[in-house]
């Protein structure tokens, strides 16, 4: 299936949790196009359905109804094993709480997606170190997560999301655990390294300070997209210098 420059095509997607009296409609007919080469933010108050939508897009949750195409594939049509392989090859994740493995060094954490893909340990860790170096973290490659600051941990998480060259990066509140300055620096780095032609970035956030980094902002409330805003993405200074 061709992508035509579209990373995610969502038409009337719904998601319902529970049954009967305990039923909760988390998504109510989501129509959304997320384009390759752009950074899209899903914003809105808590409980608006942002994270549910992100989970559905990444195949971690099944949509209840509607049509969802991600990178030319319909997650609903993929079997369990195929879906895992699809995620492993095409998606990169950045989590709110970083979710680094405390026992592994920064470079080893970065190497995890490569290891999951069958790359040998030595080669995977070497590539992890190289990737950390491109993010200015070469000197911290052998540090454990507990020895890193919040900003450093998020940079390691970003490296882990990018190391296997996925086509879609999803970030869940990447700056919420960071102070303003550090969050801004992380966003600059993310914007500079993650957004590329042929790759899309989706960020779930309610941190208004980083909205300037978005090409497209989908405002959500009560399981719906209430407005879709095209934005002029702030280009990170390091890219401007080039």
């Amino acid at each position: 299936m061709t992508t035509n420059g579209i990373a995610v095509l969502s038409q009337d997607v719904t998601k319902v949790f529970g049954r009967g009296d305990t039923q909760v409609q988390a998504l109510r007919g989501i129509d959304l196009n997320i384009r390759l080469g752009e950074l899209t933010m899903l914003v809105g108050p808590s409980g608006s359905g942002k994270t549910t939508l992100l989970s559905v897009i990444t195949g971690l949750l099944d949509a209840t109804s509607g049509d969802l195409v991600v990178l030319g594939r319909r997650p609903a049509e993929l079997s369990g094993e195929d879906l895992i392989l699809f995620r492993r090859e095409n998606l990169g994740f950045v989590f709110q709480q970083f979710n680094l493995i405390p026992a592994l060094t920064a470079a080893e954490n970065v190497a995890v997606p490569l290891l999951a893909g069958g790359v040998k340990r030595q080669e995977a860790v070497a590539r992890g170190e190289e990737f950390l170096a491109t993010l200015g973290m070469a000197h911290r490659a052998h540090a454990l997560p507990s020895e890193l600051s919040g900003g450093e941990q998020q940079r390691v998480a970003l490296a882990r999301a990018l190391v296997h060259e996925p086509k879609l990066i999803v970030c869940d509140e990447p700056t919420s655990a960071l102070d303003g300055g550090t969050g801004h620096a992380v966003m600059e780095l993310l914007s500079a390294t993650a957004v590329r032609p042929g790759r899309a970035v989706i960020i779930v956030t309610h941190d208004a300070r980083i909205f300037d980094f978005a090409d497209q902002i989908a405002h959500m409330d009560d399981g719906r997209i209430t407005s879709l805003e095209e934005n002029r993405r702030m280009v990170p200074p390091q890219l401007l210098r080039h």
Partner: protein
């Protein structure tokens, strides 16, 4: 991903070592108690097992085990000899007497009266002296433990005397007899001499020891003896088992050891199981992240099983090492001589540990398998 699993396992040293020590402790307790149990429970058969020349024990039909004997009549020996398939049969006296040392200390002893002509049933291993010296008047062979009781701190040598039934007992040899259940000293003497040492008994014939003719099955000869004489005939293995079962059914020993073994099993299952489960639960976010990233359930199950195997294997090895060291230390100690660490126990404990860590990890595996990877998006 194996190295990730191992690094996750050893990262929390306190939990890692508590897991290993729990399994090591449980393994040690299991192996130690089962080995001691087997050692003690085989002791009632020590004097049966020590008789290697004969294969068949003939006794009163109501005999329960080897330590309680009702004497046969002398002619029973000839009746056994007449049974087809019996190559030879000799008398054996087995009873208890009281021996007194030169300094006045006394003990009940197990007295074995051997056939004068053949000395069938003699000790398997002599430490000092010779079997042939039993031909001397009042001669007896005593086991090492008994000798050291009556002559503490003295070198092992022949020529010393004891007193039994107001008669002199001349020690002409020191044997390495297997330890009896009650840890009584074991004396071997001639059949004709035994009466003098134990006092007046109408009949001395405790057992008839017999040997089947070459090529005749022991069981067949036993049946023949029973049919022809009305007596009870048992092979050495069967008679040993009788003794084992008697003590098993009529003493509190199995209950006592059983409780310890159950405690070891509970400790060995619950503590590592709980610790391993907590370890997994605390790592759920990490497993969730791995699942989201694209690590398959099969891979994650493999990681958890590897962790369980490493913990179980290390704990088991440590437990077996401690058990082996324990028995290496005690096997030459007289009261615990003969109690060893059989390889079968080691293997059985290995299987138990495998089951225990398997169960413990299964609970953890289940928790990870049902984990929604979307959990990683919940802060």
């Amino acid at each position: 991903m194996n190295f990730v699993a191992l690094k996750m396992l050893v990262a929390d040293r306190a939990k890692y070592f508590s897991l290993i020590f729990a399994i090591a402790f449980a393994s040690f307790l299991l192996a130690n108690q089962v080995s001691i149990f087997i050692g003690i429970m085989t002791r009632p058969a020590s004097q049966i097992q020590d008789v290697v020349d004969a294969d068949i024990w003939v006794m009163d039909p109501q005999t329960l085990y080897g330590d309680e004997v009702y004497a046969l009549r002398d002619y029973d020996l000839y009746r056994v000899r007449s049974v087809p398939g019996v190559e030879w049969a000799v008398p054996l006296y087995k009873g208890n007497g009281r021996a007194k040392g030169p300094d006045g200390r006394f003990r009940t002893v197990i007295l074995m009266g051997l056939d004068d002509a053949t000395l069938v049933g003699a000790p398997r291993k002599m430490l000092v002296g010779s079997l042939q010296d039993l031909d001397q008047p009042d001669a007896a062979i005593i086991d090492k433990a008994g000798y050291l009781y009556f002559f503490p701190g003295q070198p092992l040598e022949v020529g010393k005397t004891l007193q039994m039934n107001e008669r002199r007992v001349l020690i002409v040899g020191i044997s390495d007899a297997s330890a009896p259940f009650q840890s009584f000293p074991v004396l071997h003497t001639r059949y004709s001499q035994a009466l003098g040492f134990v006092g007046r008994e109408r009949n001395l014939l405790s057992f008839v020891l017999a040997k089947p003719t070459p090529g005749t099955p022991v069981e067949k000869v036993c049946k023949g003896i029973e049919a022809a004489t009305g007596l009870r005939a048992r092979s050495t293995a069967e008679f040993s088992l009788d003794a084992f079962l008697f003590y098993l059914r009529n003493t509190g020993i199995p209950v006592n050891f059983g409780i310890t073994v159950i405690i070891a099993l509970v400790v060995g299952t619950v503590i590592p199981g709980q610790t391993f489960y907590i370890f997994t639960v605390e790592s759920l976010k990490q497993f969730g992240a791995l699942k989201a990233i694209g690590v398959t359930n099969r891979r994650i199950v493999g990681m958890i099983l590897l962790q369980a195997l490493v913990v179980g294997g290390t704990g088991y090895a440590l437990g077996m090492g401690i058990t082996a060291a324990f028995f290496a230390r005690t096997m030459n100690y007289l009261p615990t001589r003969g109690i060893i660490f059989p390889w079968q126990v080691m293997a059985a404990v290995g299987v138990v540990v495998l089951v225990v860590v398997g169960l413990a990890s299964l609970i953890s595996v289940r928790r990870v398998l049902v984990l929604e990877p979307a959990v990683v998006f919940r802060g």
